[in-house]
């Protein structure tokens, strides 16, 4: 059967992912999980973060809804629609805030390798993503980057009844947005270990505790072709998180605590980030 020509670019766009949104995976990192063929996943998550320093305090709370669809057993697509509840910057006693639709992303994941053994699954996947400039970038603070950005990632895991191991690398390619600003590209590397304190059975509550290490390298921003000195740097987060499930419903969450930050120039440093999500598979 020949596919119509338009399918190829459509699939290329669908084969994209920006963040983790699948089943038993790290909360802040990425895993190779996909959903079963024809399966539909719905996730609602709330994310927050606070950064302070250089005379500023930045806070952000985002409500994100995601729909995941299993095109095949090994290929899943996700549409993520963020709504910025509040993005605020306080500087010199003046606070500016904005809320509204953020940047919508279409993302997907292809699990190219899987090895099953009794009660153990090893897997690896690549992920590609595109984020569209749907958030308003004329407001202060901006709700979107104003640019179409891309992400490429590779993730692998080993899961067993007792232990979970995850690792991934991600690269986010940012393009020029509104006002001549091009945010620097970002490189991420994540490691995670999870443990199930009590072995469980299907149709019983299941808890997995996870500890993640999340590395971020931020390249310098460019404004009208010139480097922005107060941008870019490196960060390492330690992230305790949990994953609680019952049958086809999951509640998961975690907190990112910075353990190392080396940012260029004068920039607010991350104080914390958190994420709490409810996910259902149907």
């Amino acid at each position: 059967m020949r596919l119509p020509a338009f399918i190829i670019p459509v699939l290329a766009v669908i084969l994209c992912v920006f963040g983790p949104a699948y089943a038993h995976e790290p909360i802040f990192g990425l895993g190779p999980h996909t959903i079963f063929k024809g399966g539909l996943g719905v996730e609602i998550e709330i994310e927050g973060e606070r950064a302070s320093g250089a005379g500023e305090v930045e806070t952000e709370y985002v409500l994100q809804s995601e729909i995941i669809y299993g095109i095949t057993t090994d290929l899943a697509a996700t549409l993520a629609v963020p709504y910025v509840i509040e993005r605020a910057i306080e500087s010199g006693g003046v606070e500016r805030s904005a809320s509204g639709l953020g940047d919508v992303s279409l993302r997907g994941k292809y699990r190219f390798w899987r090895r099953d053994a009794p009660c153990v699954q090893d897997a690896a996947a690549f992920v590609l993503g595109v984020k569209f400039p749907t958030g308003d970038d004329d407001r202060t603070p901006r709700l979107g980057s104003g640019s179409t950005d891309f992400l490429f990632a590779l993730a692998a895991s080993r899961e067993s009844l007792k232990w979970y191991y995850f690792g991934d690398i991600r690269y986010r390619l940012n393009t020029k947005g509104g006002g001549g600003l091009e945010k620097g590209d970002r490189f991420f590397a994540d490691l995670a270990v999870g443990v199930r304190p009590t072995r469980t059975e299907y149709l019983k509550p299941d808890l997995v505790l996870i500890v993640e290490l999340n590395w971020e390298t931020l390249m310098e921003d460019e404004l009208n072709g010139s480097d922005v000195g107060d941008s870019g740097g490196n960060r390492l987060f330690l992230s305790p998180s949990f994953f609680f499930t019952y049958r086809n419903v999951a509640v998961k969450g975690g907190v990112q605590v910075p353990v190392y930050q080396d940012l260029n120039g004068e920039q607010p440093e991350a104080d914390y980030r958190f994420k709490l999500a409810v996910e259902g598979h149907f």
């Binding site: 959903i35 079963f36 090994d74 053994a117 699954q121 009844l161 299907y202 997995v208 999951a250």
Partner: protein, 171 residues
């Protein structure tokens, strides 16, 4: 010869129970599934297997890596849909054990268990000479038998069944 009341009750019970017990069908499948490591992901197995014809219920055992599937009353589980259901749920099937009722048929040197329509047939394999003799006897008498054993998927022709236990109803 007059029957006493116990004999009468026994025969009556036999007539009532016999149709259900003797119906040719696959009653139960125990599927060994590799890769089952998370209950949340195992939901896909439930979802896919529930769509298999004849399935009434299932018991997913995470710690054993098995799924036991029971047939709907009066129906046979369509075993040929099971491997695909497991694949589509994102896991690997290692082995299927079936408990089936049917009649033994002979075709040349081969022995078969017919557990439903003309296409619902297992080729019986790896038979000891004693078991083969018993099965030939069942075939000659047209007796209904209950067989439990390991099923092997074949790309063409009937799937095979290696019996672990065989029981005839009217020896």
């Amino acid at each position: 010869m007059r029957m006493n009341s116990i004999e009468t009750a026994f025969l009556a019970a036999l007539f009532v129970l016999a149709p259900a017990a003797l119906q040719a069908q696959i009653h139960t499948l125990t599927v060994s599934v590799d890769g089952l490591a998370c209950p949340f992901c195992a939901y896909g197995v439930e979802k896919k297997l529930k769509r298999v014809e004849g399935v009434e219920s299932m018991d997913i055992r995470m710690n054993e890596g098995t799924v036991t599937i029971s047939a709907r009353e009066g129906l046979s589980i369509d075993i040929k849909q099971v491997p695909r259901a497991i694949r589509d749920s994102g896991f690997s099937m290692r082995e299927i054990k079936a408990l089936a009722t049917g009649v033994v048929k002979r075709d040349g040197q081969g022995l078969f268990l017919q557990y439903g329509g003309a296409d619902d047939v297992f080729q019986l394999r790896e038979l000891s000479s004693a078991l083969r003799e018993r099965l030939l006897q069942y075939a000659e008498n047209g007796e209904t038998v209950e067989v439990e054993g390991i099923v092997e998927e074949r790309p063409e022709g009937p799937w095979t069944l290696r019996p672990e236990s065989v029981e005839g109803f009217f020896r």
